[in-house]
C-alpha cells in the first residue's frame, strides 16, 4: 500500500535524447510527488514536484506527466546532456507539513556524449 515502484532500473541515452522514467504508486492518500536527482557522494536534491490536480508540470528541460486515474507519473528530460547523468528517484508523500517521503527504487541514467 505504501510502495512506489520505479522503472527502469538503469537507462542509457545519447546526448540530446529524451529519457523517460516511470513511477507508479498504490496509496491514494499520496498527493505530492517530487523527483530527486542524486550525484555520487551527494544527497538527493529536489528537481521538480507535482500535485495531482495538474497533469503536467515543466521546469526547464524537466517535465513531469501525471496520470491520477492510473496512479502513475513520469519524468521526461528534454535535450539530455552528459551532466544529467545521475540517479533519479521518484517519491510520494501526503501534502502536509513533515510528511514522510516514500521513494522509488531509483533509476541510474547515463547520457553519452
Amino acid at each position: 500500500q505504501q510502495q512506489v515502484k520505479q522503472s527502469p532500473q538503469s537507462l542509457i541515452v545519447q546526448k540530446g535524447g529524451i529519457p523517460i522514467i516511470n513511477c507508479a504508486y498504490e496509496n491514494t492518500a499520496f498527493d505530492y510527488f517530487p523527483w530527486y536527482q542524486q550525484f555520487p557522494g551527494k544527497g538527493p536534491a529536489l528537481l521538480i514536484a507535482i500535485r495531482p490536480d495538474v497533469s503536467e508540470k515543466k521546469e526547464g528541460r524537466f517535465t513531469i506527466s501525471f496520470n491520477k486515474s492510473a496512479k502513475q507519473f513520469s519524468l521526461h528530460i528534454m535535450d539530455s546532456q552528459p551532466g544529467d547523468s545521475a540517479t533519479y528517484f521518484c517519491a510520494a508523500s501526503k501534502r502536509r507539513s513533515g510528511s514522510r517521503l516514500t521513494f522509488g527504487e531509483g533509476t541510474q541514467l547515463t547520457v553519452n556524449p
Partner: protein
C-alpha cells in the same frame, strides 16, 4: 544557498558499539528527518521530528534508535548497539512548515559496521 550539513562523512564502528550521527539542518526549518539508504537500495524513511518530539517513525526505527535536538542547531541520530545490517548511508533532511515545502537533504554519513 543554505544547506544541511552532516558529520562525519564516514563512520566506522565495531558491532555492538553506540554511534551518533550529527546533522545541522537549515536554520529556519522546523521539520527534521532521518532517512537511510542501504547500498544499491532505495532511500528509506526512518523518523521525522518537530517541536522537540518525534512526529512519525517507520518500522525500521526500533528501540535501538533515538533522535535528539540537543541545542538550537544540531539534530542527532543515535544507534545504541549497532548491528551489521545498520551499515548504510544515513541522510538528514529538513523542511519549512507548509504542505508543499521540499525536504532538503544533506550529503549523508556512510556508516560501516565491522
Amino acid at each position: 544557498e543554505p544547506e544541511v550539513t552532516q558529520t562525519p562523512s564516514h563512520q566506522v564502528t565495531q558491532m555492538g558499539q553506540e554511534v551518533i550521527l550529527r546533522c545541522v539542518p537549515i536554520s529556519n526549518h522546523l521539520y527534521f528527518y532521518w532517512y537511510r539508504q542501504i547500498l544499491g537500495q532505495k532511500v528509506e524513511f526512518l523518523v521525522s521530528f518537530y517541536n522537540n518530539e518525534i512526529s512519525e517513525k517507520s518500522e525500521i526505527f526500533d528501540d535501538q534508535f533515538s533522535v535528539e535536538r540537543p541545542d538550537g542547531s544540531n539534530f542527532t541520530l543515535k544507534i545504541r548497539s549497532t548491528k551489521l545490517e545498520d551499515s548504510a548511508m544515513y541522510f538528514c533532511a529538513s523542511s519549512e512548515q507548509g504542505a508543499d515545502q521540499p525536504q532538503h537533504f544533506g550529503d549523508g554519513t556512510r556508516l560501516s559496521i565491522l
